[in-house]
Amino acid sequence: MIHPTEYTQTLKKGMPKSLPRGDRITGPEWGRSRASKALGGWPGQCDMAAMEFLPVLFMVAGIVLVAGMTLFVSSLLRPSNPYPAKNMPYECGMDPAGEAAGGRFKVQFFILAILLVVFDVETIFLFPWAVVLKDIGLVGYVEMFVFIMLLLVGFAYAWLKGALEWEA
């Protein structure tokens, strides 16, 4: 299992052990990752920290641009015909006004939602684990079972408390 710190340690290998004090910002070597190299990697005199995040800025700008363009172009092309039923907020087949809109849900909805999140997180963790299973060996294999055991304890508790009964 690749530990976060091991990951950072592999990252660190590229840099000198101790950071030169005054040179940290303008330093030529350390902290330059693939991202800034892909951009052409300005030599020397620029704020490395800011450079690191430049691709993120490009991405945000790209997202805003694409979203804005889509809305603008489609407003030119589409027919405009609003009527009340169309302007109503979409609510999965339920009337947006009334019982659901009053915020009075059965508490079982919340319990199920929390249980869903628990197993969602488990699945998110299981996928990368399964991908690198060969590299992490028996230790990683056993570690996942410890994790699943802890989840199962929570699940057994929820079951015992009757969280899975719809009619309380």
Binding site: T5, L19, G31
Partner: protein, 479 residues
């Protein structure tokens, strides 16, 4: 990670594993405990904590780094873990009768306290921002739930809601700071962070990250300007949980702050200026606002803010002496604060809440022994010799003066004189007034044991302060 390294890591974190596994077992077993058998839960939880304590002391011989540098089992952590064990066990003992009176005697109460304990232990041992975060969240989530345990009382619900929202914001800020640190330095290790943070010149992104992380930690300690939640949450929570929160999570927050300040780079930097400002403002606010409180729990909340401020002065002093003085302060504070909370919890019986200071008028007439105990705790909190509370403050002041912060020491003394007033006012109410009602304290054997232990701690450390200071210094140099 190889199997051998993993085995070493498991060995280093054995006490945490014992607590988590015990809590899991108790969570399931607790569902089969019949009504009227609740004392089984107390015994089982105490047994789990004692097992973990045994493991901690057995393993305290050497320093064991574990989990690729995210965790360390050293004597510094052992000292804090002992404080946590003490706070948790005493809370268990205080809880049984109180939980019965309030109708909250379910197994989850004990299980959540155990999980909070494991979170605090992780924080004391963590050497990486991510493991600190995991411990912090584990502890915080449990205390949120425990705050709202009096489900029938709107006050408790309100406190829990406030706490969960403000706590969520503070952890969010902390996590944002961690992500900035990772983005700027490529590491989340405390040592790596210290090396980068103390660099000169400090770039604005790094400064922002440090401010965010400090804000997240200071929130848990309850220091100004992140103290807003303390009075409301302390007042609304079940009193036993208030007692626990005022010592356990506070000490855990200090454990992380001190571990950062143990780093020679941080100690040599100008970080003490921020901490000094926080300490002065915290103490001033806590002392002056406490003067006008009528509710005992609210008063103790402000008192805990004041004490956090005083302990911060020890962090300002820094160095081995300063850090050791803070550690001793937290140990003594655990004894005296749990003691005074023990007397408040004991007063809760029948319809009598025992939360208003006026309720204690003339308490000394029918119960001279218990009144004397309250006097002892209050004098200790005020810092009057020969109680332990005096030496807690004394060693912090010594550390301050030795480092040349004479002005800060004078401010600390003046503000504790203000704080002494509101403790002694309670003593006056207890001794000088005529009793207006019959008192019926809920004195179970468990509560008696707690009061005896805290009184022994308060007097014992007051009699042998140098020995306990050496203990704190020894745990410091060993780690």
């Amino acid at each position: 990670m190889t199997a051998a390294a993993l085995f070493q890591s498991i060995l280093a974190s054995l006490p945490e594993i014992v607590v988590v596994a015990g809590a899991c077992i108790l969570l399931i077993l607790g569902q089969f405990v019949r009504k009227g058998q609740e004392h089984f839960l107390v015994w089982a939880s105490v047994a789990i904590v004692l097992m973990a304590a045994f493991g901690t002391l057995m393993l305290s011989g050497e320093v064991r780094p574990a989990y690729s540098g995210m965790f360390i089992a050293d004597r510094f952590a052992v000292f804090f873990k002992v404080v946590f064990y003490l706070a948790t066990v005493l809370t268990f003992l205080l809880s049984q009768k109180y939980a019965e009176i309030e109708g909250i005697g379910s197994s989850e109460y004990y299980v959540l306290l155990l999980f909070a304990l494991s979170g605090m232990m992780t924080m004391a041992s963590a050497t990486d921002l991510l493991s600190i975060y995991v411990g912090l969240e584990l502890m915080a989530l449990c205390t949120y739930v425990l705050t709202g345990f009096l489900r029938q009382q709107p006050r408790s619900n309100e406190a829990a809601l406030k706490y969960v929202i403000l706590g969520g914001v503070s952890t969010g800020i902390f996590l944002y700071g961690v992500s900035l640190i990772y983005g700027l330095t490529g590491t989340t290790q405390l040592d790596g962070m210290a090396a980068a943070v103390t660099g000169d010149p400090l770039d604005p992104g790094m400064l922002l990250a440090v401010v965010f992380i400090v804000a997240g930690l200071v929130f848990k300690v309850g220091a100004v300007p992140f103290h807003m939640w303390v009075p409301d949450v302390y007042e609304g929570a079940p009193t036993t949980i208030t007692a626990f929160m005022s010592v356990g999570p506070k000490a855990a927050g200090f454990a992380v702050i001190l571990r950062v300040f143990l780093n020679p780079l941080v100690a040599a930097s100008d970080a003490w200026i921020i901490v000094a400002v926080i300490a002065v403002v915290t103490m001033a606010l806590g002392s002056f606002v406490a003067l006008v409180q009528d509710n005992f729990k609210r008063l103790l909340a402000y008192s805990s803010i004041t004490h956090a401020g005083f302990a911060m002065f020890g962090v300002v002093a820094g160095g081995a002496d300063g850090v050791a003085s803070v550690m001793l302060y937290l140990l003594i504070y655990t004894f005296m604060n749990l003691g005074i909370f023990g007397t408040v919890i004991m007063m809760r019986n029948g319809d009598f809440s025992g939360e208003v200071i006026e309720d204690y008028a003339g308490f000394a007439k029918p119960h001279p022994g218990l009144a004397l105990l309250m006097l002892l705790y209050l004098f200790s909190l005020a810092g009057i010799p020969p109680t332990a509370g005096f030496f807690a403050k004394f060693y912090v002041l010594v550390a301050l003066v030795e480092r040349g912060f004479v002005v800060l020491a004078v401010i600390a003394v003046l503000l504790s004189a203000v704080a002494a007033y509101f403790y002694i006012r309670i003593v006056m109410v207890i001794y000088m007034r005529e009793p207006q009602r019959a008192f019926d304290p809920a004195l179970t054997p468990f509560v008696r044991a707690t009061l005896a232990l805290t009184a022994a701690g308060t007097i014992g450390i007051g009699l042998f302060p140098a020995w306990f200071l050496r203990l704190a210094q020894y745990s410091l140099f060993g780690g």
